[in-house]
Symmetry: C2
Subunit: 427 residues, 2 copies
């Protein structure tokens, strides 16, 4: 069965925003079993929305659309759909209630523009939005069913999974199965080389790659005579992919790298302290974005100033003066200090030059020292030089630190992590 | 003049790859002065490419396309274009030479599939590709000019800049001007209401809104007889928009809220310390993502465990036991402790319940206390209850903290920030 994606918004046609919703929906619809043959992006223009919708409805069994359901005057999707199907707009009492409750809960007064979000083409199938104001809706256009969802990715994804996917699943051909693996540590070309020949070894599979800096997601799509045999084929091919990628494949589907590290720490029963400098709190943020970080995280001391490194972590001022704040000596002392003052089992530290300024010939922008003060009393320091802009260097350094933690949790005797590393035993 | 973007590739329609080329081209074409009204993404299907191209050529003055020019059998764009314009394919000798040189330079032998990349619809305007194998080309379809470029972003961008942009610039209308304002603190519906009537007061302007949680971006687009008058119209309308939004409009274009707060601190010459709990390092991360944070940030102590609050910040254990870690008393003591141990001029602290668990009737999930220990020795504590999931609560709390800092920088006597706030003078 064919399916089309319609994305609505002038911010999209003008290129102010990449159409990430479109790619996400296409991947989900493909995984369900649809052949997605076309995406269309139109601006917030009533006439163009009507025309695109009518045209897509003639060729696709299902149209999934996002955007233009907001409260402002430039949001015209609902009106356009009503015009396309020749229905009047009708206000839905339950949706109006839902919107009023949300608006009032936020301490605001309901306005006519809020109320507009409770209008739908007569006879529409209304899709609740438990985490936002704008409900979605479905309509039938000839042989086609079309669904309209808000453009906010979080709301759209939840509405698709809870409301749209169950409604369209029966229309899809049910002979596809997909798995997703998350990888970190190899560039896309190297992941591709490791997986060369897998598609040929498992006929009916297609391997797709999606770069999401600094990770590469690998998708294995299997097509077979039935859903059960597609699932079986997918599982066998995925096992091969996993074996070839080894520890670079850190998780599946919606796992996050920090989440996997947190689980590993919890499994060990270890508490953690962090001392950050160049990453400015990013490692702590990544770990605490996941629920349950309080099980293991005691402290993240972002000691940005040298005085804070001495004051909070007890790093010797002489060490900073002599070796510089970006040095293996200071990295090691930061980790040891964080472990000592917090009483944590292990402590991670990061100090470096995220740029854009502050580099030198000896220590260029991107230079980072990552140290791990271990439960056995030893401290390991790794030296890396990352390429990229400030945000990329901060992210790569944070990932490098999390990877050291992960390896420590997995093996008692951690392996070398970087190109250049030194192990200092102080136990 | 209107313009459309056509992206070709099954990897795009299946959502294996986000259509970043489409967004990039749309932004470039908008900047040149085109009104980009539609993007279409089709799979590598000859019939669908022909149909999409014919349709777009009827409505747009310029069509810019990428993808499907590769050497493999699934690359059918050139054939499809030839069919759409009713021309035969002809091999271009100069292109064939270029391809042969590149293939041989890479140590490979020329094959028929490489040679296929030197085929073009008869009469096409060939666009050289100095950094890749596949040349691009342009054709005329009725009133429309259409350009076809490779899908590799690096090659496409260079070809667009060097070959396509100079050819289309004369066709663009140069009578548009746009400004962008960044706002925080009002929901989209409230921003829309504040700006009701601006479009009518300044005929020729269109106001657009983009929600990027928790911010709303406002775009003012002006269309006039000339570029100069569009610019003038845009500036006048933007001044009105800015006046109506007051301090909710915190910046322009690519400003960030944390960047604006950092600039305000720098302008004051104040140093900052932060003590975070529920936000887990997010405030520090937001501030240090911007270059130059070391000018003002001394310390961000993410004291996740109660022991760390006492150990690092000197928060009285009795205070934590008696009032709880999520309390105005502990928030105040955290800020004062951070200011004391770091020697910073001002200190911000945040303690709360980000969820999903840990809430109670008295302190539900979303409860956050934000405290500011000021240079004058006074400490202000604000109580907020945010709605949302863990990530949203962390983000809203961080914004609330940054807003308190901003207001402190702007006015010596900070105003009330939240719905419920208390000011405790300890000076």
């Amino acid at each position: 069965m064919t399916c089309a994606v319609l994305s609505i918004g002038t911010e999209l046609t003008r290129g102010e925003l990449a159409n990430s919703n479109g790619a996400w929906l296409a991947a989900e619809l493909t995984a369900i079993g649809f052949e997605v043959t076309e995406h269309v992006v139109v601006d917030d223009d009533r006439g163009r929305i009507v025309e695109a919708l009518r045209r897509l409805a003639q060729r696709a069994r299902v149209v999934v659309s996002t955007g233009g359901l907001g409260p402002t005057t430039d949001d015209v999707t609902t009106e356009a759909v009503a015009a396309a199907v020749g229905a009047a707009l009708a206000r839905d009492a339950a949706s109006l209630d839902h919107i009023r409750r949300r608006v009032e809960k936020a301490g605001r007064t309901m306005t006519p523009s809020n109320a507009k979000q409770a209008d739908f083409p007569e006879g529409a199938d209304i899709l609740p939005n438990p985490i936002g104001t704008a409900p979605g809706f479905g309509v039938r256009i000839g042989e086609c069913v079309a669904f309209f969802m808000p453009g906010v990715p979080r709301e759209m994804k939840r509405m698709f999974e809870e409301q749209v996917a169950p409604r369209v699943r029966a229309l899809a051909s049910n002979n596809l199965f997909q798995s997703r693996l998350r990888t970190f540590g190899l560039p896309e070309s190297a992941v591709g080389e490791k997986l060369a020949g897998v598609e040929q070894a498992f006929p009916g599979t297609t391997i797709g790659y999606r770069a999401h800096f600094p990770e590469i997601e690998v998708k294995v799509l299997a097509k077979a005579a039935s859903h059960a045999s597609a699932r079986d084929l997918c599982e066998r091919a995925t096992a091969e992919v996993r074996a070839r990628l080894g520890s670079y494949a850190y998780g599946e589907a919606d796992d996050t790298f920090a989440g996997v590290v947190g689980r590993a720490l919890r499994a060990r029963g270890w508490t953690l302290a962090i001392a950050e400098s160049c990453t400015g709190g990013l490692v702590g943020h990544m770990l605490t974005r996941e629920p349950g970080a309080s099980d293991f995280l005691l402290l993240d001391a972002v000691t940005y100033a040298n005085s804070a490194k001495s004051q909070i972590l007890g790093v010797d001022e002489e060490t900073i003066r002599w070796h510089g704040a970006v040095s293996p000596e200071v990295a090691g002392a930061m980790a040891e200090g964080a472990r000592r003052v917090s009483g944590a089992d292990v402590a991670l530290s990061l100090t470096g030059i995220a740029g854009p300024s502050g580099g030198s010939d000896a220590k260029p922008v991107g230079t980072v020292y990552v140290a791990l003060a271990r439960a056995d009393g030893a401290t390991e320091v790794v030296h890396r030089v990352f390429a990229g802009d400030r945000a990329q260097i901060q992210l790569l350094a944070s990932y490098a630190g999390l990877r050291m933690l992960r390896e420590l949790c997995v093996s008692r005797t951690p392996e070398r992590v970087g190109e250049a590393s030194s192990l200092r035993d102080r136990g």
